[in-house]
């Protein structure tokens, strides 16, 4: 190991009790986020694969009720359970930023969906697409989160 490498390791290593607690807190937080990502990505890819395979055969994918209920259960468990776990390692500044980001995403949804619905009823635009609204919410949430975090 080089001298600069050893110095970098020493400088990045926790020095006191507070830094050890801070490292543990960050590690726990990232573990929860990683677990949630896996829970989201694996079923997401599987559902995408099912839909893609069905589309290749020019038919709509039909899910069994058991599969649909299982997916809904996984989603609810991940969002509620993940939220509760994350709230234990979230400090007051992160919580405030989360509130602001969710408010922003909610406002975006409140503006876009009714407008889109009313314009659709007037025959100006196609019917609102539910997954686009869902994606809009998450994109707004991501943008607002990054904005409040790095501005």
């Amino acid at each position: 190991m080089t001298v600069s490498g050893a110095r970098a390791m020493r400088d990045s290593a926790p020095r006191g009790e507070g830094e050890r607690r801070d490292s543990a807190r960050r590690r726990t937080k990232w573990l929860i986020v990683a677990a949630l990502a896996v829970v989201g990505i694996v079923p997401g890819f599987y559902m995408g694969y099912q839909d893609g395979a069905a589309a290749a055969q020019s038919r709509a994918a039909i899910w069994s009720p058991t599969f649909a209920a299982a997916m809904a259960g996984i989603y609810l468990l991940a969002v509620i359970g993940g939220g509760l776990l994350l709230s234990r390692v979230t400090d007051e500044l992160e919580r405030l930023r989360s509130y602001k980001a969710v408010s922003f995403a909610g406002a975006a949804l409140m503006l876009v969906y009714p407008t889109w619905f009313l314009l659709w009823r007037g025959g100006f635009v196609p019917e609102p697409v539910h997954w686009m609204l869902f994606v809009l919410f998450w994109l707004s949430l991501a943008v607002a989160t990054l904005w409040y975090r790095f501005r």
């Binding site: 926790p14 020095r15 006191g16 009790e17 507070g18 830094e19 050890r20 607690r21 801070d22 490292s23 807190r25 960050r26 400090d91 007051e92 500044l93 992160e94 405030l96």
Partner: protein
């Protein structure tokens, strides 16, 4: 003079430097992130009352010696 930005000034950076603590060290002792300590020190975020009391206990100084809203004593708060 009242700070019209809405944030109070604080001596957190000085108190932390006196103890040779990093922001992460202070954050760990308070149970908040390094970013929260940085935001408080740079005046971008005012801590909650419970966190202000934690800081007061940790540094063994009254809250008024850490934070200053620029208004004055209790009798001046009107």
């Amino acid at each position: 003079m009242v700070d019209f930005e809405g944030f109070v000034k604080n001596r957190l950076k000085v108190l932390r430097a006196e103890r040779d603590w990093s922001q992460a060290e202070l954050g760990g002792r308070l149970g908040v992130s390094r970013q929260a300590v940085n935001a408080i020190e740079t005046g971008k975020y005012d801590p909650s009352l419970p966190l202000a009391f934690k800081l007061s206990r940790l540094f063994s100084v009254p809250i008024e010696e850490i934070f200053d809203d620029g208004v004055g004593g209790p009798g001046d708060a009107r």
